[in-house]
Structures are given as C-alpha cells and as structure tokens.
C-alpha cells in the first residue's frame, strides 16, 4: 500500500515532532510559563488511557464479542465522573508527602515499608509487560499491513521481527523523553504536553477512519446497519454475552484508570493543579465516548467486506483504501502506542530505581554509610538504572509478544494487565480511608492476589500459546477439576476473566482486612496512616472540632490566666469581645471562636494534647462520640507533626545564625593567622566582625521576642496612639539606612493625626521592621512610600517598596515563623511583626504595588479607639 521506507520516515518524523513538543514544554516549564496549566490539557493527557487496545483492539473485540468493548470505557467514565474525590485525595496526599510513584505511595502509607514498595514495583513491571507487548504487536503488525507485508510473524526469527525494532526505537524515545535529567519531583511537563498532543492525533485519525468507512465505503450509518442486519451471521456484533463479565470488566477498568502506572503518573504525579480534576471529570469521559463512536460501524464494515479471514484487530487500518488515509490511520495508532509506552516505561523506571534497585544497592556494605556520600556520580547512576529499566521492560514486552505470538487478541493481553494492577486497589485505595490497614495486611493481600492472578489469568493465556500444557487449564492440575484455573472451585457463569478477577480480588481483600485486624500497627504505620487518611484535616492548628460543651467566659479566662498570666488572659477576652462588637459578661457562655482562641493560646504554652484536655476539663462537654475519641488518640500524631515543624524552625533559626557566625569565625581566624596585615585591612575586617556580631545579637533578640510572644508573656500597654508621631519617629530612626543606600522615603499622613488603639512600642517595632526590609529590597535611588489613613473602624499603614515584589504563592509563607523568608535574610522579623499586631486585634499582609507584580506593599491594619467606631 505505502512503501515501507515512507512509513519509516513518516513514523520517525512524527516521533521527532513529539520530541520537539516535549522539548518546548520543558523550556516553557523552566521559564515559568507552563504549557500544561489547563484542565483541558490534563484531560487530554489522561487519555493516554486510550492505547492501541482502544485504537485497534476495540474494533476487534466488537467484531467477536459485541458490545462488551464498551465496558473498558464505562469503568473509567464512572470512575472519573463519580469518584473525583478518590483522585483528589490521591493528588493531595502525593503532593503533600512528595510521592512520585505507586510504589512510593504504598511504602509511605505503610510505615515506609521497603518490602511493600519493592513488591508493588515488581508487580507493576510483571503486570504491565503483556500490555506493552500489546502495543508492540499493534505497531508492528499494522506497520507490515500498511507497507503491504505479511501480517503473521510466527516464523520470523527474533532479529528480523519488526516488533524488535519498534521496541528499540520506543525504548530510545522513552529514554530521551523521560531520563534526560534528574528531577526531584519526577515531573515531566514536556512529556505531558506531548502526550496531550498525541491524544488529539489519535482521536482525529480514528474519527477520520470512522468517517471514511461509514460515509465513503457505505452510504452512512443507516446503510451500514441495514447491510449488517441483512446478514444474520453478524448478530454477534451487537449482542451482549452475559452481564457477569460486564460487571467485572467495568470494575477492572475503573481501577485501571487510577492504578496503571502510567495513569498514576499522569493523573497524580504530573498534575499541576487539583482543580483540573473537575474539568477532567467530564472532558475525559467525553473523549472516551467520542473515540468509541465509530467502533461498531468499523467492526460491522470489516465483517461485511473483509470477513473473519482478516484479523479483526486490524480492521481499522485494513479498510482504508487510500494510501494517505492509511498512513494517517497508522500514525494515529502509532501515537496511541507510543504515548502508552513512553509514560508507562517512565513510570516503571522511577519505581524500579527508587523502590527496587537503589534500596538493594544501598544495603550492600560497600554502598552504605558515608561511602554513599562519597559517590560523586550518584545522579548519573540513578539515570543509568532508569535507562536500563526502560530498555529491559520493552525487551520483556517483546519477549512476551514472541511467546504469545498471534495466539492472543490485543484485548486479552490488556485485560491480563488490568487484572494485575487491580490487585493494588485494596492496599492503596483502602489505605487512603481506613487507618486500621497494616503493612502486613497489605503484603498478605497483595501477594495472594498476584499469585491467584498468575494462576487464573496469566497461566491460561500462556497455555493458549503452548508454553504451559493445555491440559492444566482444561482438566486442572493433576486432573483435579476443582482447581481448573478458569473455573476455580467450580465457579462458572462470570466468564473466565470475571472468575479470575473475582477470586484474586476476593482473597486479596479478605487477607488485607483479616491480617490488618488481627495484627498490631507499629507507631510508624499508625503515624503515616493518620497523615494519609486525615489529609484534609491536617491543616495547621487545632480546630474547634471537639468543642460541643458550654463554659462561662470567666472560667475559660481563669484557666488561661494560670498559664499566661491574668493580664494576657484578660487582654485576649477583651480583644475578642471588641472584635465581636457585642459585650460578653463573665457569666455568659463562651462562643466556639473564643474557645478556639483560648485553646490556641494554651497550645503555645503546653502543647495541643494538654491544651485540649484542659479546655475539656473546664467545659461541660457532651459525651464524645467514637469519632472524637479516635481523634483524641490521634492527637499524639499531631504532636509529632508539631515536633517536625519545630525541627524546621530550629533549622531555619540556626541557618540564620550561621551566616553572621561564618563571617565572624572566618575573620577571627584570618586576623589570628595573619598578624602582618596592613592597618586599614585589619580595621576593615574588624568592622565587618562588629557588624556581623551586631546582626547576630539582633537575631538572638528576635528569637527571644518571638518566644515571648508565642508564650503570651509579652506585656502591652494598649492606649490611643497618634500614628503620625509613630511613623515619623520610625522614619527618623531609619533615616541613616535610607541615606546610605540613596533610597528616598515619602511619608504621607491623611488628616491631622489618625489614632489607633494599640501598644505604641509594638507598632514602632513593626514599622522599624517593615521600613528596614523595604530599604533592603529597594534598588539604589529607588523610593519607599509610607501612607497612613484611618477609615471606618480601622487605621491603615501601607509601606510600599520598589523591590522585586513577593510572588502570590509566598505571600502567606513569609509570615510563617517556620519558613525562611523568601527574600532571604528577612529572618523572623515578619513573623514577629504579624504576631505583634495580632495581639491588638490588627492584621498584617502583603500585596503587590500596582498590580503589575513589581514592588510590594505591606499593609498594617489596626483597631481605632472605641468612640471613633
């Protein structure tokens, strides 16, 4: 039909185009202008689900089994449409804990179990091999068909087999695409862009094929169906054979759309924005619907004109009579196969290197301990492992293809893979909602499930090729009929696949639940279980979820006073009352917000668990439900989380302290070791040491300030303060800084003297901090503006600078005491400032100056005296 060299050139040009798109995608990602930041692209990339199986196999399935092919699309459509919740939780957990593959996920959920991670990686590889074989088979047989060669391959030696070269070329491309460099997030924006493009190509090509067959070869749908109806032998194509199979196929494919390695990679790891899931939940099912519209017409047309002598799996292509159209259809099929192979092998290579090879290598003494750190080429080693994995997986696929040859249809091979990854469902999806799930339960379920899978699903397929004696499948091992793989324990009526899936999943779930219930969780397992299951409740800070009781304001205040002092306790209550705007007498019942504030203040003093218990002890709480009791126990985990945050805080502070210390130590040693230095140089170095010592002192003071603020021991004198005088005093105190850097300072005060109800020193400290930050980030001869005005109920101070601005993603982070200032060197100042103004019921936040992203405006909002409200 088309000369072989033309097909080869077109195929390579197409792959080259893909590579170009991926390259562009990576460049755009690096430049911060992502190509894939849209729900539409996400949905299209999810359509990597539609492989050669969809493209060629659905027609083959329809021609032999009727409407059953639809199940493979109903499952995912249901899964995506109905359980966006599952996907969102998977994404949230994976993002929060930096999970980059299925095996990582399993290991992390079950107490960082390497064994489980390794098992998942192994099953993923073994389970996916038939699926990859399917793609090789589709590409190589359609290649021969489109270039006019023989379709059968059984008698060709391996080295002359087109499939081998297809495998090698695909391996090369997967390596180029996926392992160009090492990235900690394992995200490949370029690949995703290329995959989304491929989804468009295969859809267009398939629709073109369908339109041609329906309207070119026949006179439209009516004509085609009438011709089919007139041929009694074609009844199978619209028949439904047994709903037992339907149910299991829908279940399998619903799992597969989340748990196939490539689907997890695209749907979870490569997801850039959780909101895209919503778009995908209708767009992806729509895609599946559209790409299936012409399956039945093509199957009927194939049966009518070509008959069963031609393999129905190739009808899509075999029906095309124009070479250009045939080439387009071939490229469509090629894109379906390459998309699958590239993403699947990239996902598998991550799993194999992270969960199988590296853990094994690290265990060998030669690699352990400090030796590892001495390896300069660890990154290169990881990349090499991944490249080899990609090649090996494709060669395994080729091997499986050689073994099974023409004995299997595309869909049969695919279903075997679906059933293998469905074994992940209990451990992974169950573990996302059930805290009681244990590592041993997951291991037991997964192992039993995969063994039964091999016995009931893989072995019968191998038997059809003659690799396993057929008698085992026909009569059962040793002639024991009860053990026949496809009718295990006499189960019939669900179809062979249905029975296999039923038994493997049944035993899997039973062991997963049974072993989990029988055993005990280690602390690591329990901790991670709570972190995964309660992902949405693990937002910082204890909430009000326990409080259902009633407590008078006075009792709550007295409780707080015992820990933070009477003054601070009274201030908190007064401040809360002021904010509510309604008087709150001592005997009135505290509202949940006040309880939450008291609990938060106590948490700073005694930790969350004790704070919780203290509040409960004074409140007349209604009996707690089971869920709350479980939550209380979970507090221990929350404590651990808080510990981690404290570690991070310590790390931040020590980093900040380390910088001046480094300079001081270096110059001390320089002066010691070089007594002959010229006087000016000595003076200069001593000056640096003095400056850095001062900086160190300031930082230590800041840490102490923060500690005092957090424990509620800071004492404030809240009076009516004239903001004009405070701003002017702060401006003159920092005047030297501005002069030194030649930055202009404009102060603009609205009206005679806006008053605020605050502590004067506190506001002064905040202003000094904001002004010194502003001058630090503003380039020389730039300008800093301070504007003060009072409007209804609040006084506002805006401090604007000409610096680089604060990106929207960092606008809360910079006030977090646990984080290092995004601008670097701002240290704890902003965290302290925010806490100070919050003490008076004020606010502090940052925005950009003119809306063009340049410059930052820090806005302090302060309460005004009561009579002016």
């Amino acid at each position: 039909m088309v000369p072989a060299w033309v097909v080869v050139v077109v195929s390579l040009a197409y792959l080259g185009l893909l590579f170009g798109i991926a390259h562009r995608g990576d460049q755009r990602a690096a430049a911060g202008r992502s190509l894939i930041a849209s729900g539409g692209v996400y949905a299209l990339s999810l359509a990597v689900y539609a492989t050669s199986w969809t493209y060629y196999g659905s027609v083959g399935r329809a021609a032999t089994r009727g409407l059953e092919f639809l199940t493979i699309y109903l499952g995912p459509a249901l899964a995506m449409g109905c359980s966006a919740i599952v996907l969102q939780k998977l994404i949230r957990v994976s993002k929060r804990y930096r999970i980059t593959s299925l095996s990582d996920f399993a290991a992390a959920r079950y107490g960082n179990s390497r064994l489980l991670g390794g098992l998942v990686a192994l099953i993923a590889v073994v389970g996916t091999v038939p699926y990859i074989a399917l793609q090789l088979k589709a590409v190589s047989s359609t290649f021969r068909l489109v270039s006019g060669g023989a379709v059968s391959t059984t008698d060709v030696p391996a080295y002359a087999d087109t499939a081998l070269y297809v495998a090698l070329v695909l391996a090369l491309f997967a390596i180029l695409f996926g392992t160009a460099h090492l990235d900690a997030t394992e995200r490949h924006e370029g690949v995703v862009a290329a995959i989304a493009f491929e989804s468009v190509v295969k859809l267009v090509a398939f629709l073109a094929a369908g339109l041609y067959v329906t309207f070119g070869l026949f006179g439209g749908l009516t004509d085609l169906f009438e011709a089919a109806a007139a041929t009694p032998a074609l009844a199978t194509a619209v028949a439904i054979d047994g709903y037992g199979n339907w149910f299991w196929l829908i279940v399998l494919s619903a799992f597969a759309v989340l748990l196939l390695p490539r689907q997890f990679q695209i749907a979870v790891v490569e997801n850039v924005d959780e909101r895209h899931v919503r778009t995908a939940s209708w767009l992806f099912p729509l895609y599946l619907l559209v790409i299936n519209i012409f399956v039945l017409p093509i199957a009927l047309a194939g049966l009518l004109t070509l008959g069963p002598a031609v393999s129905p799996d190739t009808y899509v292509l075999a029906l095309q009579q124009h070479s250009a159209l045939a080439l387009l259809v071939f490229v469509g099929g090629l894109s379906a196969a390459t998309g699958m192979v590239i993403v699947e092998t990239i996902a598998l290579s991550t799993m194999v290197s992270n969960s199988l090879v590296m853990p094994l290598l690290l265990r060998r003494p030669r690699w352990g301990g400090p030796g590892l750190a001495d390896r300069g080429d660890l990154g290169r080693l990881v990349l090499r492992i991944r490249r080899v994995t990609i090649l090996v997986v494709l060669l395994l696929g080729f091997g499986f293809f050689r073994i099974t040859g023409d004995a299997l249809g595309l869909v049969d091979m695919g279903l075997v893979s679906f059933a293998a990854v469905a074994q992940f469902a209990p451990a992974l999806l169950g573990g996302l909602w059930w805290k009681g799930a244990t590592r041993n339960g997951a291991l037991a379920g997964l192992t039993a499930g995969i063994v039964l899978w091999a016995y009931t699903l893989l072995m019968p397929e191998l038997a059809r090729t003659g690799w396993v004696p057929e008698s085992i499948v026909r009569d059962g091992p040793f002639g024991v009929a009860l053990l026949r793989p496809q009718e295990l324990f006499g189960l019939t009526g669900m179809g062979a696949v249905g029975a296999g899936v039923f038994w493997s999943l049944l035993v899997n779930v039973a062991l997963f639940v049974g072993v989990s219930l029988a055993g005990r969780r280690t602390p690591a397992e329990a901790g991670n279980a709570a972190l995964f299951v309660d992902i949405d409740r693990r937002t910082p800070g204890p909430g009000t979820r326990f409080y259902r009781g009633s407590v008078p304001v006075a009792r709550l205040r007295d409780l707080l006073a015992r820990f933070v002092g009477a003054e601070a306790a009274a201030a908190l209550v007064t401040e809360h009352t002021a904010r509510r705007g309604v008087p709150l007498p001592d005997e009135a019942l505290a509202d949940p917000e006040l309880v939450r504030q008291v609990e938060t203040a106590l948490t700073g003093a005694v930790g969350p668990a004790a704070a919780r218990a203290l509040v409960a002890s004074v409140a007349d709480e209604e009996p707690l439900g089971m869920a709350e009791v479980v939550e209380l126990v979970g507090e221990a985990q929350h404590l651990r989380e808080l510990d981690r945050l404290k570690d991070e805080f310590v790390a931040t502070v020590t980093h900040e302290l380390r910088t001046p210390l480094t300079a001081i130590r270096a110059f001390t040693e320089i002066l010691r070791d070089n007594p002959d230095l010229p006087t000016e140089e000595r003076a200069r170095y001593l000056e640096i040491m003095a400056t850095e010592t001062e900086r160190l002192t300031r930082m230590v003071n800041q840490v102490l300030d923060l500690a005092r603020l957090e424990s509620g021991q800071a004492s404030w004198q809240v009076t009516d303060v004239d903001l004009r005088s405070v701003v002017e005093e702060a401006a003159s105190a920092t005047a030297q800084l501005f002069t030194d850097k030649e930055v202009a300072l404009d102060v603009e005060v609205d009206g005679p003297g806006p008053l605020a109800h605050v502590d004067r020193d506190g506001v002064m400290q905040v202003l000094l901090n904001l002004l010194s930050n502003a001058v630090k980030v503003t380039p020389p001869s730039g300008r800093v503006r301070v504007a003060v005005r009072a409007d209804d109920g609040t006084a506002r101070i805006d401090v604007s600078d000409d610096g680089p601005g604060v990106p929207p993603s960092d606008r809360e982070l910079i006030f977090d005491r646990f984080r290092r200032g995004a601008a670097g060197g701002t240290g704890l100042g902003l965290a302290i400032s925010r806490r100070i103004v919050e003490q008076f019921g004020g606010t502090l936040h940052v925005s950009d100056c003119g809306g063009d992203g340049r410059g930052a405006t820090f806005t302090v909002g302060l309460p005004v005296p009561a009579r002016r409200r």
């Binding site: 460099h181 090492l182 590892l372 750190a373 001495d374 390896r375 300069g376 080429d377 660890l378 990154g379 990881v382 020590t654 980093h655 380390r658 910088t659 210390l661 480094t662 300079a663 001081i664 130590r665 270096a666 110059f667 040693e669 320089i670 070791d673 070089n674 170095y685 640096i688 400056t691 850095e692 601008a823 670097g824």
Partner: protein, 121 residues
C-alpha cells in the same frame, strides 16, 4: 596559581573567601547569584568554583547540575550547612567534588581547595 570563582550571596563571607584565596596566590572572581555564576564560568574559566548552596533564585544544586550538564569538568566545592546530610548527598549527586560546612575553618577550607587543585585535571 589557579583561577577561583566564588559564588555566595553574603557579601562579608565573600570578602573572607576572597582574602583566603588571594593569600594562596589565586586569581579570584566573585558573584552573588546563580545566573551570574553560570555567566562567569563561561567567561572566566575558573579551575575551581566555591559554591554556596542557598542562593536566591537559581540555587547551588541547579547551578552545579547545569555546569556539569554544560560540560564543566573542573572542581566544584559546595558550601553547606553542617548536619544536613541530605544536602551533601544531593550536592554530590548533582556533580560536586567536595564540600565544606559553614561556619568553615579557614585552614581546612584552604587545605581542601589546595588538595583538589593538585589532584585533578
């Protein structure tokens, strides 16, 4: 004598490093961020780069990785915080030759630099 490129965003630490390197008779160039470091390597062709890991914008790892990817074969010494094994491992993974923890001892720093300069190509 060798050419040394210093990349750190703390001016006073840079001053101390410049002094120590010049004292050994090396030619020194200093930059304050990753982009400038990449540009300086092309132009200055240093024999050794003293590279701080915590840089604004493009961080030290990225600079190191980019340099190696661009075929830079000379020595790279990371300046890192003590007790951050993960940082050190990652530093080696992206192609650094050695590391010195901050606050560094001046004699140790100089000894390591001299040893590396003597060792490689």
């Amino acid at each position: 004598m060798a050419r040394i490129l210093i990349c750190d965003d703390e001016p006073n630490i840079v001053v101390s490093l410049e002094f120590l390197m010049r004292r050994q008779g090396h030619e020194v160039r200093s930059v304050g961020d990753g982009d400038a470091a990449l540009a300086a390597v092309t132009e200055f062709e240093p024999d050794l780069v003293l590279l701080d890991l915590m840089l604004p914008g493009r961080d030290g790892y990225e600079v190191c990785q980019t340099l190696r990817a661009d075929g830079f074969r000379r020595k790279i010494v990371m300046l890192t915080a003590k007790g951050r094994e993960a940082e050190i491992t990652k530093g080696f993974a992206v192609g650094a030759d050695d590391y010195v923890t901050k606050p560094f001892g001046t004699q140790e720093l100089v000894a390591r630099v001299q040893q590396l300069l003597g060792a490689g190509p």
